[in-house]
Symmetry: D2
Subunit: 305 residues, 4 copies
Amino acid sequence: MDKKYLDSIIKEYKHYTIEGQVADYIPELKKMERCDLGIAIIDRDNIFTAGEWEKKFTIQSVSKPIVLILALMDRGEDKIFELVGKEPTGDPFNSMVRLETYTMNKPLNPMINAGAISISSLIKGKDNEERLARILNFFRLLSDNESLEVNQDVFKSEKETGNRNRSLAYFLKDIHCIEGDVEEALDLYFMQCSIEVNTLDLAKIGLILANDGLNINTGEQLIPKKYAKIAKTFMLTCGMYDESGKFAIDVGIPSKSGVGGGIMSSVPQRYGIGVFGPSLNKKGNSVAGMRMLEKISKDYEMSIF
Amino acid sequence: MDKKYLDSIIKEYKHYTIEGQVADYIPELKKMERCDLGIAIIDRDNIFTAGEWEKKFTIQSVSKPIVLILALMDRGEDKIFELVGKEPTGDPFNSMVRLETYTMNKPLNPMINAGAISISSLIKGKDNEERLARILNFFRLLSDNESLEVNQDVFKSEKETGNRNRSLAYFLKDIHCIEGDVEEALDLYFMQCSIEVNTLDLAKIGLILANDGLNINTGEQLIPKKYAKIAKTFMLTCGMYDESGKFAIDVGIPSKSGVGGGIMSSVPQRYGIGVFGPSLNKKGNSVAGMRMLEKISKDYEMSIF
Amino acid sequence: MDKKYLDSIIKEYKHYTIEGQVADYIPELKKMERCDLGIAIIDRDNIFTAGEWEKKFTIQSVSKPIVLILALMDRGEDKIFELVGKEPTGDPFNSMVRLETYTMNKPLNPMINAGAISISSLIKGKDNEERLARILNFFRLLSDNESLEVNQDVFKSEKETGNRNRSLAYFLKDIHCIEGDVEEALDLYFMQCSIEVNTLDLAKIGLILANDGLNINTGEQLIPKKYAKIAKTFMLTCGMYDESGKFAIDVGIPSKSGVGGGIMSSVPQRYGIGVFGPSLNKKGNSVAGMRMLEKISKDYEMSIF
Amino acid sequence: MDKKYLDSIIKEYKHYTIEGQVADYIPELKKMERCDLGIAIIDRDNIFTAGEWEKKFTIQSVSKPIVLILALMDRGEDKIFELVGKEPTGDPFNSMVRLETYTMNKPLNPMINAGAISISSLIKGKDNEERLARILNFFRLLSDNESLEVNQDVFKSEKETGNRNRSLAYFLKDIHCIEGDVEEALDLYFMQCSIEVNTLDLAKIGLILANDGLNINTGEQLIPKKYAKIAKTFMLTCGMYDESGKFAIDVGIPSKSGVGGGIMSSVPQRYGIGVFGPSLNKKGNSVAGMRMLEKISKDYEMSIF
């Protein structure tokens, strides 16, 4: 791996950005530049970056595995999986059908919106302010970046237009899969989605996961090993919306995407990777980002299989 | 038809009330007496009553065809059926599955909760106070009972525990099947469900429908004929939750039930019938009420088929 | 009602045939003439006909309520409704989803293909030849037409291309909703669908149903009253595929359509009606036939509501 | 890893067999001994076995990833994934719902029955005899065991009672996801499921997959690397019916189970594992087998995450 290789990859894959569109379901996201493409890869000793790697974007669904880990640390495995299932699914990101179809009567997994909203409601804190502070601090700790903040415009936009998520949340409340107040859980969820990061932040978090929760520079175990593995498993089985299966076959790296254009990947024992490419395909995944990761995975034999 | 016949029917069917339970999904409804059973039947010239015919109960889903008529009068057939479908369904009263499964992406009909909430959002009025006043006045006009009021305790109870309906409503908003504010539409829906009536009120409204909207005493056309027929059609095809088909076969009278224990029936050109029996079967229909109607329909050949 | 009226109706509605297409799912049905439109109406004393009323076509799904009646006469109400439900549904005619979604684990009603195939498997007879003879004789008796026969080309075509129905049938077998051999039940079902009739045949059967099973000319009770009412109820609630609700509102007459272009209608106590118009809309119903029935129902106040 | 360790594991986990039941959906499978438990683990240099490792059982669904590989070698990746999807699912093994719910209108993946039947229909051969011979030879080659045969009694039993699979197959034919004759595809599928193996056979095949298709003893590349990885990916994301997600988290090894009691696991670059434990939980997975693999995975850090 070297800087020159990454530069050439960005150059080679940039034109794929014209095949997709930036997210348009909230006004704030529409402002992103479709042709942006950036990447950061970290291993034990090096940081490699290329393209618009420094640009900030909202983390969106990439927050899901991270907040899941915090919830696991706060409440333990038993409590979490009492409210949310472990089974993969090829669902579209905003589907409601499964909730009632399934006899188990809880969200299938923490990577779909329903599951993620349940998870957010389980974060400890005396009020939402404290809960958000704890989430933000956890993101800052993992990314080693004290400056991470919520983009308030995106948060407001999410909150105003989030009727489908609101519908999910009240349904979850009805089946006892949300703790506490529904609107507070939703607010917290919308806020965690609105945290701004860049590719380096994602790569750093990805590297912590790759090393089973250990910060290899400081020797500090930031996440219990078991929870880091749980997060990576969900990322592999359902981290890319309903293209998770295809991505597992073509790329084979535990990864989580978000409609802000980000992808966080974690190559066990080896690399943390952050990608930014806001031009999305119909499934909600970065068009150029996915292709780029497929190429890199092949060139450096990163598949876990 | 005579009083003696009805008295004997009440006596004969009263013991069936032990086969069911009063509704327990909101605390206020649990207070009803399981063994109550009452009936009122009106034709052109007579009023027959028996049992607890005078007891008040909340109208609940029996309000659906009536508010549908008001919405039709307010907004016209085209607008109504742009937002809500016409197709019968054997759905449980609180199901959400169908909304997304169906390609047409609107509630299947105005008798299921989703459809009824959409319909409530279409009632004219500058605010909810005016809308509620218009609904109440319409119920009073049809039942010739100026004293009808909303039971505030039931309303509050419905509002506090209505997370499933709230979930439905936000989903409906997301697919553009609710006009205006979601919480206002829900409040109006919960209020219409909480109007208190007795069997005579229901029988009188049922008679207006039986006579295609005409008040035969005053000669006044209270409802356009077409809309009265639409209401009766929905009552026949989907008025008894997911027992509508069985009821159409066994009884054959357009009827609408509610979890307050009420059933309003309308025998075209002949009778209006109100039943009260708060002991419900698992489908949400009055156990003794349904059986009583089957018996009366057979004895007086009331089936429309 | 008079001949002149019907002639004018045919003339007025004929051009609607260009809005649809003849059925194309089996080769034999594609041979029909799209612009054909015919009607026959019978009451106690008269027969009125117009257009292509004499043309033969295969009865297809119009056979469903008739074979249901024979099965009820053969096996009794309890046995029939142990295997098949009574609940209306707006399902497309070839849907499989509902079978498993529904907890009751049987076809929702006898008007959808799944239910009709179950019903066919319940017809008495030592072998399929005898069963078919009994069905044919029943159709001949009700239509007072000894010449009714199965169109063997259509039968073969149905059998060869009927993989979706075959799939349904094996699923039904698995959930114990088919008696005896699956392929025999399917053959019988395909044969009953391939019986050739004209509009007068359908009108005559419709009149028997209108008169609760009584042949008013001979005074013979051909069908028990209860079963005639059951058939009419299913025709009203689910006789027109997933337009049954719309048709109930707009027309209000118990009717059953088939993809051969036929519609059989039954106006209680008054008329039997047969329609032929092979140009179908997307739901599988005769485009011009439906509109014609709406007009006639309004002009002669035929709605049962 | 050593023999003593495996012996102690078998001893420790044997009592879990009383928590489940042997498969009872076909008579032949009911004959298995509930308390059997065996294991074989192979790495580059050693073979370790314990318990009833030598007992024969039918391979059942463990055949799915293997026949998938043969189909990929026969027809190429594009053809295979034109007919069958790549998305994981927590579906029960015999569900039909998804087929129609999903817009993509093909089986979600090759590990569910629908997908596996489609795959079987794609195996090359001039008739079923040749196709079966090719499958058997492929199994013999991978397991280095020339004596593998189809258990004819199980095959007949599967064929006779396979109405749900037959239903799936005709539906697949209807949506053009089966090539050639439906009954032939079903026969081939039932035959591949009825091949008898023991744990050592499964371990050997698992080792070939672990080594990306290479027979490390002979140096022969028996399977293209890409296809071995595809098989392992499906095993991880959907190899354990609707416990695949839980198993991925708790065990983290690409594995495929069958209702014959077998599990084949493949630890990339390290081990092939075969398990036999016919006492199944409600999901269709070996009760004691799953727990045993969880223990071994933890003791030897086998998780791929």
